[in-house]
Subunit: 262 residues, 2 copies
């Protein structure tokens, strides 16, 4: 039996967005300027992420232009761009724009401790700023979001889906897993390509991305180079489970191919 | 005679902004969303720079959200952040927000060729997109800008000053010049610190930044570590002139100190 790539689950836009937001701590905040009034204004910020719903936490100076803007109009968006992407093909990088309203937390607000913890977890070197009296924590209450995965992959996403999505547990080790698979397990990748992408006659396969649901493959076939996907079944629940999932994928591929080669 | 750092010229906010805008080709565009209407919306773009006035050139797909936004409301800003800064102290990085109105260039517009040349000069790998029929060139006509040089250094800037400012000609080689001065010319830096910053008793000095007007120094004195600045006189007009300016600075410092050591 060969399973075509049509059957394989991919991360949803909400999951992609949630993973992206957790992958870095710098973003662009867009607010509405005071002068000229209502003009869109972009500025650099650092942020953390509140669990369980992925609400961004900002730590803003009253001296900053964006803070004066938010004091007058709470509407804002936060653009997060994947880091470490290709220098020559910037627009292929994943990014997400979270739209919502910002709320300043007063010092005695019961949510300040959780906000501070989330911010410091993402910005460990920011401890030196935390005592500054002209800074406050702000939450961005997300109402909708726009995710772009690269050329042609994009969608709007409901805030509720973002709030309930889990960041991909494999994300912190996905890049090294791709490298390891390509360096040491070319045979397993080829078996996965042959068994799961409908290309029984594939000659070679390379991993190009790993996520909780599977592996994206670049496959050499007699008809040329194609892409396909091999599924993790069940999905990976935590980073430690990625290795076992890859072993299970290889075993399933070889079983499907009728091979007994371990 | 020792010259104090008060006498030394620094790049203006307009010059800093212009230099920053020329230093990279990626930025965040902030526009006004269609839904929810008027909500600030940040998105990732690549850009080039038109000479002589520094007008940013964008190349936008009609499929992109920001393009639909601009079609309805031309107001926009472009946030450019210095690249290669400290990972642990992101907010110390220079950045500038250019505010203005965007204009789409029709295909037969006489300005398209110059716009394309400016865009491709900054995005050499973009040649593959240029033929796409759903992309257009856009200009951002800058009306004002907000520059932030790091903690505590920030100002608004007139568009006319930005338009007439020259990017710093030393910027492309400034980082390697700093390294070279520190590796091979510690004696010259010490002489410059002693002669030009009012610290005759300095024990050592390191370059921390070079620009067309001078060198920022970190200086060890009996009272502790301080910062100061030594001027290039005259300012550097092109990258090739930086070495001669550094030699002239050293000579002037030694003459001021009454030393004949060449």
């Amino acid at each position: 039996m060969s399973v075509t790539s049509n059957n394989t689950r991919r991360p949803s836009a909400a999951e992609e967005a949630r993973t992206l937001v957790h992958s870095t701590a710098r973003a662009t905040l867009a607010t509405l300027a005071l002068d000229p009034a209502g003009h869109p204004f972009g500025s650099l910020v650092t942020y953390g992420v509140l669990e369980p719903d992925g609400t961004p936490v900002l730590f803003l100076s009253t001296l900053a232009e964006h803070t004066r803007n938010l004091d007058a109009d709470k509407r804002a968006s936060l653009l997060v761009v994947a880091e470490g992407g290709s220098e020559s093909d910037i627009l292929a990088e994943g990014r997400v724009t979270l739209l919502g309203e910002a709320e300043r937390l007063e010092r005695d607000d019961a949510r300040v401790d959780a906000a501070r913890d989330a911010y410091v977890a993402a910005n460990p070197d920011a401890a030196g700023y935390l005592g500054l009296s002209d800074f406050s924590f702000w939450l961005l209450h997300v109402s909708s979001l726009r995710w772009v995965g690269g050329f042609g992959r994009m969608s709007w996403c409901e805030a509720a889906n973002y709030a309930s999505a889990r960041p991909d547990p494999t994300a912190p080790i996905a890049a090294s897993a791709v490298e390891h698979l390509n360096d040491d397990h070319a045979d397993a990748l080829l078996a996965a390509a042959q068994a799961f992408t409908g290309h029984r006659d594939a000659a070679a396969a390379r991993a190009i991305r790993v996520d909780r649901y599977g592996v994206d493959l670049e496959i050499d076939t007699p008809e040329g180079r194609v892409t396909g996907r091999a599924p993790f079944d069940p999905p990976v629940e935590d980073a430690a489970g990625l290795r076992a999932a890859a072993v299970a994928l290889t075993r399933a591929a070889r079983a499907a191919l009728g091979s007994e080669v371990g």
